[in-house]
């Protein structure tokens, strides 16, 4: 396995595991911004982390080889008539 693939897989696994915030399970406090219970604020932050994770994937693991795919369907134009 290439190092890049290994690191990305590990990163994905870590982000997945971080979703299970068992340490917040029975906690309501602190109230983030004075009104968001910690469990809800954490999971909201997790959504932002997920977006950052996706940005990393798009940047370093984008399937470039698919960008120049051409249609191999010969009769498509005839079908469009």
């Amino acid at each position: 396995m290439k190092l890049k693939t290994f690191l990305l897989t590990a990163l994905l696994a870590v982000v997945y595991v971080l979703h299970q915030d068992f340490w917040n399970w029975k906690e309501a406090y602190p109230l983030v911004f004075g009104f968001l219970p910690i469990g809800l604020a954490y999971q909201a932050g997790y959504s932002i982390l997920a977006a950052a994770m996706m940005a990393v994937l798009v940047r370093v693991a984008w399937p470039n080889h698919l960008e120049n795919v051409e249609s191999e369907v010969k009769d498509l134009k005839e079908d469009r008539s």
């Binding site: 994905l12 982000v15 997945y16 979703h19 299970q20 915030d21 068992f22 917040n24 399970w25 029975k26 906690e27 309501a28 406090y29 109230l31 004075g34 009104f35 968001l36 219970p37 469990g39 809800l40 954490y42 999971q43 909201a44 997790y46 959504s47 932002i48 997920a50 977006a51 994770m53 996706m54 940005a55 994937l57 798009v58 984008w62 399937p63 080889h65 698919l66 960008e67 795919v69 051409e70 249609s71 191999e72 369907v73 498509l76 079908d79 469009r80 008539s81």
Partner: protein, 536 residues
């Protein structure tokens, strides 16, 4: 009356956008079903998001938060915000490329070609339709209920359902995929704004601050569970991370992936998706929890947002926000109707000779006729059948489609996968759906009340099957867990025991493998092709 007028204006706008799309349409199926595979980047994001967001994202999320508290956000929203973009990234992009290369317009068409078998496509088609149609019906029911609630009962339920069914039918009938995605742009923007506006308006109207109300909930032992997850079992919470695998397997989501103009359209979508979920779900969940204090004792907590808006927002704004809710309903419903029509036209009508006999134009006529018939039937069923039946079916559908994800992953990434592996997985999923349905039915009468421990369904089997207030569980996990892992296992074991597809098909779908590999890799490919040849 003002909310009804505002919603009516919204429906007229939807109709106008649909008719504009109709003017641009051509009489071929690729244009009708996939907007000529020319959906641009931003429209693609807004549309695929609308495809996946139903009324549940607004009404259901706040209703569940009212009942269960903040845990519902982590349970359904943040897990979806991670898993759904991942599936779009890994599966959606590959589906797009395969659709573009070989002209596939549905998953079933891909499976048939990939595994050189018409029957496997038909089996998956039957299961997919059985799981999708209840979802479509419940969307019409949801839309009807929302229109009735927003109008304060002036629009009766059958009329509300009829309006939703009619607008959806007209939109899909005339505009096809193009009309659907154009309307989605407007709809998604509207419901993305919904949450923030609702929070701002309600906070402005309350005598106390949000913090005061949350403090009150957190310090009361009877309501404290609403701001923690102390009543939410951890196994249940983890099980839910598998449910979003269903998203890409829903036919309307997969079909959307075929419609993008370029693969780069997926980039923006995967990054923005978690943030869009955050924008909708966080305010709705928060307001649902808050609603338990502001409007206690509601018989139907799914209406909590409508209650809050009625009490705390000016009527014209309540109308606009109501239109936002209707948008969420219609956005997904139009895609579901279009997907069912696409599947019947391509996977049944065209596949079994209809296209050869009647041509592309005939296929589009068939699709339009089918749209009218299927929404009419859905409307009638919505009126005469209790919603609970379909709510249950939809819950099962999410588990079922999630458990079909290994089939798609194998088709795309594992060249050794076989049609028998796919068949075994599909039968495993269908079997579990029937088993869960049966267990649910026999345990309904003995389901424990809120806060009570789960009940053993068969005491002799110990904790294997338990019944909670709502669900059947398997050793405390949701049925989706054995369904997904069992489906993957079926695919692996049965594929390894049966002959792979021909080398020609393998080369067709994995063209780069041979040329990219060298040395040992090339030998492996050669050995594989020999194996494939023996299999034939």
């Amino acid at each position: 009356m003002i909310p009804v007028i505002v919603v009516s204006i919204y429906l007229v706008i939807i109709g106008v956008i649909g008719s504009l799309a109709f003017r641009k349409s051509k009489a071929n199926t690729e244009d009708f079903f996939l907007a000529n595979r020319a959906v641009g980047s931003m429209v693609f994001f807004l549309s695929i998001f609308a495809t996946n967001m139903t009324a549940f994202a607004i009404l259901g999320s706040s209703g569940q938060a009212y009942r269960q508290g903040i845990g519902i956000y982590g349970l359904m929203a943040s897990s979806s915000g991670f898993v759904i973009p991942l599936t779009i990234f890994f599966i959606g992009t590959r589906l797009w490329a395969i659709g573009k290369r070989f002209g596939h317009q549905t998953q079933v068409s891909f499976f048939r070609d990939r595994w050189e078998c018409s029957a496997i496509g038909t089996v998956i088609f039957a299961l997919s339709v059985a799981m999708l149609v209840p979802y479509m019906i419940i969307s019409i029911m949801g839309g009807g209920r929302v229109l009735t609630d927003i109008s304060g009962g002036r629009v009766v339920y059958p009329l509300g359902c009829a309006v939703v069914a009619l607008v959806v039918t007209a939109n899909v009938f005339f505009g096809g995929m193009r009309g659907t995605v154009w309307v989605n742009v407007f709809q998604t923007l509207l419901f993305l704004l919904f949450g923030a506006v609702a929070v701002a308006v309600i906070s402005h109207s309350l005598p106390g601050s949000f913090g005061d109300y949350i403090q009150k909930i957190a310090t009361n032992p009877k309501t404290r569970y609403l701001v923690t997850r102390e009543r939410m079992p951890e196994r249940y919470f983890w099980s839910y991370t598998l449910i979003p695998l269903s998203s890409i397997m829903f036919p309307h989501m997969a079909i959307m992936c075929f419609a993008a103009r370029r693969i780069t359209a997926f980039k923006r979508t995967v990054v923005l998706y978690p943030l869009a979920i955050l924008a909708i779900w966080l305010p709705c969940v928060f307001l649902g929890v808050l609603g338990s204090q502001l409007e206690p004792g509601l018989k139907n907590p799914d209406g909590i947002l409508l209650h809050l808006l009625t009490d705390h927002a000016p009527v014209w704004l309540a109308g606009i926000l109501g239109a936002g809710i209707i948008s969420a309903v219609m956005g997904s419903d139009t895609h579901q109707v279009l997907a069912v029509s696409t599947m019947f036209t391509k996977d049944v009508f065209a596949h079994y000779g209809g296209k050869a006999k009647y041509g592309e134009r005939g296929s589009v006529h068939f699709a339009r006729g089918f749209i009218v018939v299927v929404t009419l039937i859905a409307y009638i069923v919505a009126l005469i059948t209790p919603a609970s039946i379909f709510e249950l079916a939809v819950r099962f559908a999410f588990s079922g489609f999630a458990a079909m994800a290994p089939v798609m992953i194998a088709a795309l990434f594992w060249k050794r996968s076989t049609k028998y592996g796919a068949l075994a997985s599909t039968l495993w999923v269908a079997g579990w759906l029937l088993l869960t349905w049966y267990l649910q039915n026999i345990s309904d009468a003995s389901a424990p009340g809120p806060g009570k421990p789960p009940l053993l369904i068969f005491p002799a089997l110990g904790h294997l099957f338990e019944r909670t207030i709502v669900n059947v569980t398997v050793y405390g996990f949701l049925p989706v867990v054995p369904m997904v892992f069992g489906s993957a296992l079926c695919m692996i074991v049965v594929s390894l025991l049966t002959a792979p597809p021909s080398a020609e098909t393998i080369t067709k779908y994995f063209p780069g493998r041979k040329s990219e590999s060298s040395g040992q890799g090339a030998e492996t490919d050669q050995a594989f092709e020999q194996l494939a040849a023996r299999g034939r």
